[in-house]
Protein backbone atom coordinates (compact mmCIF):
# COMPACT_ATOMS: atom_id res chain seq x y z
CA UNK A 1 0.00 0.00 0.00
CA UNK A 2 2.91 2.31 0.78
CA UNK A 3 4.19 1.89 -2.77
CA UNK A 4 0.80 2.69 -4.28
CA UNK A 5 0.44 5.87 -2.24
CA UNK A 6 4.14 6.75 -2.66
CA UNK A 7 4.85 6.79 1.06
CA UNK A 8 6.83 3.55 1.19
CA UNK A 9 10.01 5.34 2.27
CA UNK A 10 8.37 5.97 5.66
CA UNK A 11 7.07 2.40 6.02
CA UNK A 12 9.06 -0.73 6.86
CA UNK A 13 7.55 -2.94 4.11
CA UNK A 14 7.58 -2.20 0.39
CA UNK A 15 6.91 -4.18 -2.77
CA UNK A 16 10.26 -3.43 -4.32
CA UNK A 17 13.49 -2.46 -2.63
CA UNK A 18 13.98 0.68 -4.68
CA UNK A 19 10.37 1.79 -4.07
CA UNK A 20 11.63 4.19 -1.41
CA UNK A 21 13.45 6.24 -4.09
CA UNK A 22 10.35 6.55 -6.26
CA UNK A 23 8.28 7.53 -3.21
CA UNK A 24 10.84 10.16 -2.21
CA UNK A 25 10.88 11.63 -5.71
CA UNK A 26 7.09 11.79 -5.98
CA UNK A 27 6.81 13.46 -2.57
CA UNK A 28 9.34 16.05 -3.65
CA UNK A 29 7.55 16.45 -6.99
CA UNK A 30 4.42 17.38 -5.08
CA UNK A 31 5.89 19.61 -2.37
CA UNK A 32 8.82 21.38 -4.04
CA UNK A 33 6.92 23.14 -6.85
CA UNK A 34 4.83 24.86 -4.18
CA UNK A 35 7.97 25.91 -2.32
CA UNK A 36 9.64 27.15 -5.53
CA UNK A 37 6.51 29.06 -6.52
CA UNK A 38 6.10 30.76 -3.15
CA UNK A 39 9.75 31.60 -2.69
CA UNK A 40 9.93 33.09 -6.19
CA UNK A 41 6.76 35.07 -5.59
CA UNK A 42 7.12 36.32 -2.02
CA UNK A 43 10.80 36.05 -1.09
CA UNK A 44 12.51 36.55 -4.41
CA UNK A 45 15.50 38.38 -2.93
CA UNK A 46 16.01 35.82 -0.16
CA UNK A 47 15.22 32.64 -2.06
CA UNK A 48 18.86 31.49 -2.25
CA UNK A 49 19.13 31.89 1.51
CA UNK A 50 15.98 29.83 1.91
CA UNK A 51 17.38 26.97 -0.20
CA UNK A 52 20.70 27.10 1.63
CA UNK A 53 18.77 26.94 4.92
CA UNK A 54 16.85 23.89 3.64
CA UNK A 55 20.13 22.29 2.60
CA UNK A 56 21.51 22.60 6.13
CA UNK A 57 18.18 21.54 7.64
CA UNK A 58 18.54 18.13 5.97
CA UNK A 59 21.99 17.76 7.54
CA UNK A 60 20.53 18.68 10.94
CA UNK A 61 17.81 16.04 10.50
CA UNK A 62 20.46 13.44 9.74
CA UNK A 63 22.48 14.44 12.79
CA UNK A 64 19.32 14.23 14.90
CA UNK A 65 18.47 10.74 13.63
CA UNK A 66 22.08 9.69 14.04
CA UNK A 67 22.07 10.72 17.69
CA UNK A 68 18.52 9.65 18.58
CA UNK A 69 17.19 6.14 17.98
CA UNK A 70 19.69 5.54 15.22
CA UNK A 71 18.50 3.39 12.32
CA UNK A 72 20.31 3.43 9.00
CA UNK A 73 17.00 3.10 7.14
CA UNK A 74 15.70 6.27 8.78
CA UNK A 75 18.58 8.30 7.41
CA UNK A 76 18.89 6.68 4.01
CA UNK A 77 15.23 6.36 2.97
CA UNK A 78 13.35 9.31 4.41
CA UNK A 79 12.59 12.40 2.38
CA UNK A 80 13.46 14.98 5.03
CA UNK A 81 16.92 13.48 5.51
CA UNK A 82 17.64 13.39 1.76
CA UNK A 83 16.33 16.85 0.89
CA UNK A 84 19.79 18.33 0.39
CA UNK A 85 20.40 16.53 -2.91
CA UNK A 86 17.17 17.96 -4.35
CA UNK A 87 17.97 21.39 -2.98
CA UNK A 88 21.41 21.36 -4.57
CA UNK A 89 19.68 20.58 -7.90
CA UNK A 90 17.51 23.67 -7.43
CA UNK A 91 20.56 25.78 -6.57
CA UNK A 92 22.21 24.40 -9.70
CA UNK A 93 19.21 25.49 -11.77
CA UNK A 94 19.38 28.96 -10.17
CA UNK A 95 23.07 29.15 -10.96
CA UNK A 96 22.48 28.00 -14.57
CA UNK A 97 19.92 30.74 -15.12
CA UNK A 98 22.15 33.34 -13.50
CA UNK A 99 25.12 32.27 -15.58
CA UNK A 100 23.10 32.29 -18.80
CA UNK A 101 22.01 35.86 -18.07
CA UNK A 102 25.53 37.05 -17.33
CA UNK A 103 27.37 34.88 -19.83
CA UNK A 104 29.10 37.80 -21.48
CA UNK A 105 30.37 39.16 -18.19
CA UNK A 106 31.62 36.02 -16.38
CA UNK A 107 34.76 34.54 -17.89
CA UNK A 108 36.41 31.63 -16.11
CA UNK A 109 40.15 31.46 -16.93
CA UNK A 110 41.51 28.22 -18.39
CA UNK A 111 43.84 27.54 -15.44
CA UNK A 112 40.90 27.79 -13.04
CA UNK A 113 38.84 25.44 -15.20
CA UNK A 114 41.69 22.94 -15.23
CA UNK A 115 42.06 23.22 -11.47
CA UNK A 116 38.33 22.63 -10.93
CA UNK A 117 38.31 19.55 -13.15
CA UNK A 118 41.41 18.13 -11.40
CA UNK A 119 39.89 18.67 -7.95
CA UNK A 120 36.65 17.00 -8.93
CA UNK A 121 38.29 14.11 -10.72
CA UNK A 122 40.21 13.52 -7.51
CA UNK A 123 37.00 13.82 -5.49
CA UNK A 124 35.19 11.40 -7.75
CA UNK A 125 38.02 8.90 -7.43
CA UNK A 126 37.94 9.33 -3.67
CA UNK A 127 34.18 8.76 -3.60
CA UNK A 128 34.56 5.50 -5.49
CA UNK A 129 37.70 4.16 -3.85
CA UNK A 130 37.95 5.90 -0.48
CA UNK A 131 37.21 4.24 2.83
CA UNK A 132 35.53 7.13 4.65
CA UNK A 133 32.45 4.92 5.08
CA UNK A 134 34.30 3.28 7.97
CA UNK A 135 33.81 6.49 10.00
CA UNK A 136 30.16 6.26 11.15
CA UNK A 137 29.41 10.00 11.27
CA UNK A 138 30.80 10.43 7.77
CA UNK A 139 28.97 7.40 6.45
CA UNK A 140 25.55 8.24 7.85
CA UNK A 141 25.52 12.03 7.94
CA UNK A 142 28.02 13.75 5.66
CA UNK A 143 28.60 11.37 2.74
CA UNK A 144 25.51 12.68 0.96
CA UNK A 145 26.92 16.20 1.04
CA UNK A 146 30.16 14.92 -0.33
CA UNK A 147 28.28 13.35 -3.25
CA UNK A 148 25.90 16.17 -4.04
CA UNK A 149 28.46 18.96 -3.69
CA UNK A 150 30.84 17.05 -5.97
CA UNK A 151 28.17 16.75 -8.63
CA UNK A 152 27.12 20.34 -8.14
CA UNK A 153 30.61 21.61 -8.90
CA UNK A 154 31.15 19.05 -11.63
CA UNK A 155 28.04 20.22 -13.47
CA UNK A 156 28.96 23.86 -12.88
CA UNK A 157 32.16 23.16 -14.73
CA UNK A 158 30.24 21.94 -17.79
CA UNK A 159 27.65 24.76 -17.81
Amino acid sequence: MGDVLFISNYLPARIVNVGWAISTIVQVYIIFPLLIHFTNKFFKSYRILFWVFLYFLAILFRIYHYNNHFLEEKIYFMTHTRLDSFVIGILLAEFTLYYQDKKRIIQIPTWLRLMIILIFLFNFGYILLGDYYKIPLMNYVFKYNYYNLTFFFLVMYFI
Binding site: I25, V26, Y29, F86, G89, T96, Y147, V155
Partner: protein, 138 residues
Protein backbone atom coordinates in the same frame (compact mmCIF):
# COMPACT_ATOMS: atom_id res chain seq x y z
CA UNK B 1 23.89 18.39 -19.07
CA UNK B 2 25.15 15.64 -21.38
CA UNK B 3 28.10 14.81 -19.13
CA UNK B 4 25.92 14.39 -16.05
CA UNK B 5 23.43 12.26 -17.97
CA UNK B 6 26.21 9.99 -19.18
CA UNK B 7 27.56 9.62 -15.64
CA UNK B 8 24.05 8.84 -14.39
CA UNK B 9 23.48 6.21 -17.05
CA UNK B 10 26.83 4.54 -16.43
CA UNK B 11 26.03 4.49 -12.72
CA UNK B 12 22.51 3.17 -13.09
CA UNK B 13 22.99 0.55 -15.77
CA UNK B 14 26.59 -0.63 -15.53
CA UNK B 15 28.08 0.18 -12.12
CA UNK B 16 25.17 -0.22 -9.77
CA UNK B 17 24.51 -3.95 -10.44
CA UNK B 18 28.09 -4.58 -9.35
CA UNK B 19 27.11 -3.65 -5.79
CA UNK B 20 25.28 -6.91 -5.34
CA UNK B 21 28.29 -8.99 -6.29
CA UNK B 22 30.90 -6.76 -4.69
CA UNK B 23 29.38 -7.09 -1.22
CA UNK B 24 30.27 -10.76 -1.15
CA UNK B 25 33.95 -10.52 -2.04
CA UNK B 26 37.03 -10.07 0.17
CA UNK B 27 38.71 -7.50 -2.07
CA UNK B 28 39.05 -4.15 -0.27
CA UNK B 29 38.88 -2.13 -3.48
CA UNK B 30 35.66 -3.82 -4.55
CA UNK B 31 34.20 -3.43 -1.06
CA UNK B 32 34.94 0.31 -1.17
CA UNK B 33 33.28 0.50 -4.56
CA UNK B 34 30.26 -1.34 -3.21
CA UNK B 35 29.87 1.07 -0.32
CA UNK B 36 30.41 4.16 -2.36
CA UNK B 37 28.40 3.46 -5.49
CA UNK B 38 25.20 4.55 -3.74
CA UNK B 39 26.25 7.92 -5.05
CA UNK B 40 23.98 7.28 -8.04
CA UNK B 41 20.85 8.04 -6.01
CA UNK B 42 22.22 11.49 -5.25
CA UNK B 43 22.68 12.18 -8.97
CA UNK B 44 19.08 11.18 -9.53
CA UNK B 45 17.86 13.48 -6.76
CA UNK B 46 20.02 16.34 -7.98
CA UNK B 47 18.60 15.93 -11.50
CA UNK B 48 15.07 15.84 -10.07
CA UNK B 49 15.57 19.14 -8.24
CA UNK B 50 17.08 20.65 -11.37
CA UNK B 51 14.20 19.59 -13.62
CA UNK B 52 11.50 20.60 -11.14
CA UNK B 53 12.88 24.12 -11.06
CA UNK B 54 12.83 24.46 -14.85
CA UNK B 55 9.36 22.92 -15.10
CA UNK B 56 8.01 25.51 -12.67
CA UNK B 57 9.89 28.35 -14.37
CA UNK B 58 8.24 27.51 -17.70
CA UNK B 59 4.64 27.42 -16.57
CA UNK B 60 2.34 28.17 -13.67
CA UNK B 61 1.55 25.86 -10.75
CA UNK B 62 -1.84 24.76 -12.05
CA UNK B 63 -0.42 23.64 -15.38
CA UNK B 64 2.42 21.85 -13.63
CA UNK B 65 0.13 19.80 -11.43
CA UNK B 66 -2.40 19.08 -14.16
CA UNK B 67 -0.11 18.38 -17.10
CA UNK B 68 3.21 17.18 -15.80
CA UNK B 69 2.50 15.41 -12.55
CA UNK B 70 -0.50 13.52 -13.92
CA UNK B 71 1.61 12.38 -16.85
CA UNK B 72 4.57 11.36 -14.71
CA UNK B 73 2.81 9.42 -11.93
CA UNK B 74 1.46 6.65 -14.25
CA UNK B 75 5.06 6.13 -15.41
CA UNK B 76 6.03 5.32 -11.85
CA UNK B 77 3.15 2.86 -11.57
CA UNK B 78 4.19 1.18 -14.83
CA UNK B 79 7.74 0.97 -13.53
CA UNK B 80 6.48 -0.63 -10.31
CA UNK B 81 4.31 -3.19 -12.10
CA UNK B 82 7.02 -4.15 -14.62
CA UNK B 83 9.62 -4.30 -11.90
CA UNK B 84 7.45 -6.40 -9.63
CA UNK B 85 6.59 -8.78 -12.49
CA UNK B 86 10.19 -9.15 -13.66
CA UNK B 87 11.58 -9.72 -10.17
CA UNK B 88 9.08 -12.45 -9.47
CA UNK B 89 9.73 -14.05 -12.81
CA UNK B 90 13.46 -14.08 -12.00
CA UNK B 91 12.75 -15.38 -8.51
CA UNK B 92 10.73 -18.31 -9.84
CA UNK B 93 13.36 -19.18 -12.43
CA UNK B 94 16.19 -19.01 -9.88
CA UNK B 95 14.29 -21.10 -7.34
CA UNK B 96 13.71 -23.86 -9.90
CA UNK B 97 17.27 -23.90 -11.19
CA UNK B 98 18.93 -23.85 -7.79
CA UNK B 99 16.53 -26.10 -5.89
CA UNK B 100 16.41 -23.75 -2.94
CA UNK B 101 14.55 -26.15 -0.74
CA UNK B 102 17.84 -27.84 0.09
CA UNK B 103 19.88 -26.62 3.06
CA UNK B 104 22.82 -25.57 0.98
CA UNK B 105 24.00 -22.22 2.40
CA UNK B 106 26.33 -21.48 -0.48
CA UNK B 107 23.51 -21.75 -2.95
CA UNK B 108 21.34 -19.52 -0.81
CA UNK B 109 24.10 -16.91 -0.67
CA UNK B 110 24.50 -17.08 -4.43
CA UNK B 111 20.78 -16.78 -4.85
CA UNK B 112 20.72 -13.67 -2.64
CA UNK B 113 23.53 -12.05 -4.62
CA UNK B 114 21.82 -12.85 -7.90
CA UNK B 115 18.47 -11.58 -6.72
CA UNK B 116 19.95 -8.37 -5.33
CA UNK B 117 21.81 -7.65 -8.54
CA UNK B 118 18.78 -8.27 -10.72
CA UNK B 119 16.71 -6.02 -8.47
CA UNK B 120 19.21 -3.20 -8.66
CA UNK B 121 19.63 -3.61 -12.40
CA UNK B 122 15.96 -3.42 -13.20
CA UNK B 123 15.22 -0.77 -10.61
CA UNK B 124 17.95 1.52 -11.79
CA UNK B 125 17.18 0.83 -15.45
CA UNK B 126 13.60 2.02 -15.00
CA UNK B 127 14.63 4.98 -12.90
CA UNK B 128 17.01 6.08 -15.65
CA UNK B 129 14.19 5.66 -18.20
CA UNK B 130 12.05 7.89 -16.01
CA UNK B 131 14.73 10.57 -16.11
CA UNK B 132 14.71 10.50 -19.89
CA UNK B 133 10.94 10.61 -20.06
CA UNK B 134 10.84 13.51 -17.66
CA UNK B 135 13.37 15.37 -19.72
CA UNK B 136 11.40 14.78 -22.91
CA UNK B 137 8.34 16.25 -21.21
CA UNK B 138 10.14 19.51 -20.56
Amino acid sequence: MHALRTIALIQFIILHPLIGFAQYTDSKVIQSLAHNLFVCMDILFLLSGYFIYFSISKENLKNYYIKRLIRIIPTFYIAFILYFYLIHQELNKTSKIMNLNSDNNQLLELYKVFNLSIQYWWGMFYLSRIIYQRESLM
